[in-house]
Amino acid sequence: MANTREIRRRIRSVENTAKITNALQLVAASKMRRAQDRALQARPYAEKMREVLGHLSGLIGDPDASHALLERRDVRETSVIFVTPDRGLCGGLIANLERHAGEIVLGPETGGDVSMIPVGRKGSDYFRRFGVNYHAQFQELGDYPGLAETQPISRIAMEEYINGDVDRVLLVYASFVNTVTQMPITVPLLPVERADAAEGEEASESEYIFEPSPQEVLAELLPRYVDLLVYQAILEAAASEQSARMVAMRNATDAANEMIDDLTLVYNKARQEQITSELLDITGGVEAMQS
């Protein structure tokens, strides 16, 4: 049985840990709320843009309306934009992301060469060990990145695609489902997928007036669409990160409190035992003197 002083020291140390994880939990909870709001607010724009692109999709097959970002090629080299947090302490999120991305980057079935654009320190650290080639990397985008911060990422992806350095760009990130669930997913970014026109809208397509012209509208729309997909992925990743951290820190705080309860019980037992044995000593001593 450990002595009481040692147990007391142990309790104090666990209490300190609980204080820290509790503080981290509160910080993550407030950041989480804002990050979730932002991720949800960006959705209408993305949806509307997909809709407009859908109206244009009748034209996408048209050779007059072709665009470099739509051009499909045989895949010899794939580029993977891998969005991860900069910091850890977010439960299984990072490990899940790494496993998911690893299947694409290191797996045999991808075919051809793979290069990466890691966004966030964790993903960059992980794949560096495997000697994966990085075309660019981004870190410290902040807790609430804006379009201005994410645009350089999408611009580089479009550049390497148009230059022919890569034949396909995939986007891997943690999509935000809800506070307790985040799902690593892979989204094809380039070439831009032909958007499906909504049902029943097929007929109206040809009646649209395009100004200045369908090609020019397409040429302006596509880069913005790609910008937006990346922006949204990063907002979702941020919401996922804060949610995962909040949950992980809450679990840690709960575990620490449970440990404190257990240790307190052990401490009280030890203390009582000590008192009992002291009493026994005293009564034993008294009896010895009396006899």
């Binding site: 407009v52 649209y208 200045p212 020019e216 509208v217 729309l221």
Partner: protein, 146 residues
């Protein structure tokens, strides 16, 4: 039947209204007005002022470019950035304009395009502010100059 108007930027839904009589937008081929029963249209936008008329009143916005879609009395503005006239910072727009002018004089090609874009954005913002100023001062009696 009035128009339904939505102004959406990548960061937020700025406006949604269902009682709009006319939208005047800075199309890339020039200013265009949209009235009810307009034909389906998709146009790109240049930086400038977006005017929304409803009843007797008018609200002004700045858009920095993007798209406008019209379909069955539903007008959607997908803006790169958009602000209400009351949100525009006069001083910032003014400094941006001056900086862009200076850059334009000495810039190389790549910078030139950026300076040009920044100039037209700041001019667009100033134009929206100018209209707002004229409208409010017209009500209180015209002030000279300024």
């Amino acid at each position: 039947m009035p128009l339904t108007l939505e102004i959406i930027t990548g960061e937020r839904l700025l406006l949604r209204r269902e009682d709009v009589d006319e939208v005047i937008a800075p199309g890339s081929l020039g200013e265009l007005g949209v009235l009810p029963n307009h034909a389906p249209l998709i146009t790109s936008l240049q930086p400038g002022e977006l005017r929304v008329k409803s009843g007797g009143s008018e609200d002004d916005f700045f858009v920095s470019g993007g798209f406008l879609e019209v379909q069955s009395d539903q007008v959607t503005v997908l803006a790169d950035a958009a602000e209400r006239d009351s949100e525009i910072d006069l001083e910032r727009a003014e400094t941006a304009r001056q900086r862009a002018r200076e850059r334009l004089d000495q810039a190389t090609d790549a910078d030139r395009a950026r300076a040009q874009a920044s100039l037209s954005r700041s001019l667009g913002r100033l134009k929206v502010l100018e209209r707002r100023r004229r409208r409010t001062s017209g009500r209180e009696m015209a002030r000279p100059g300024a």
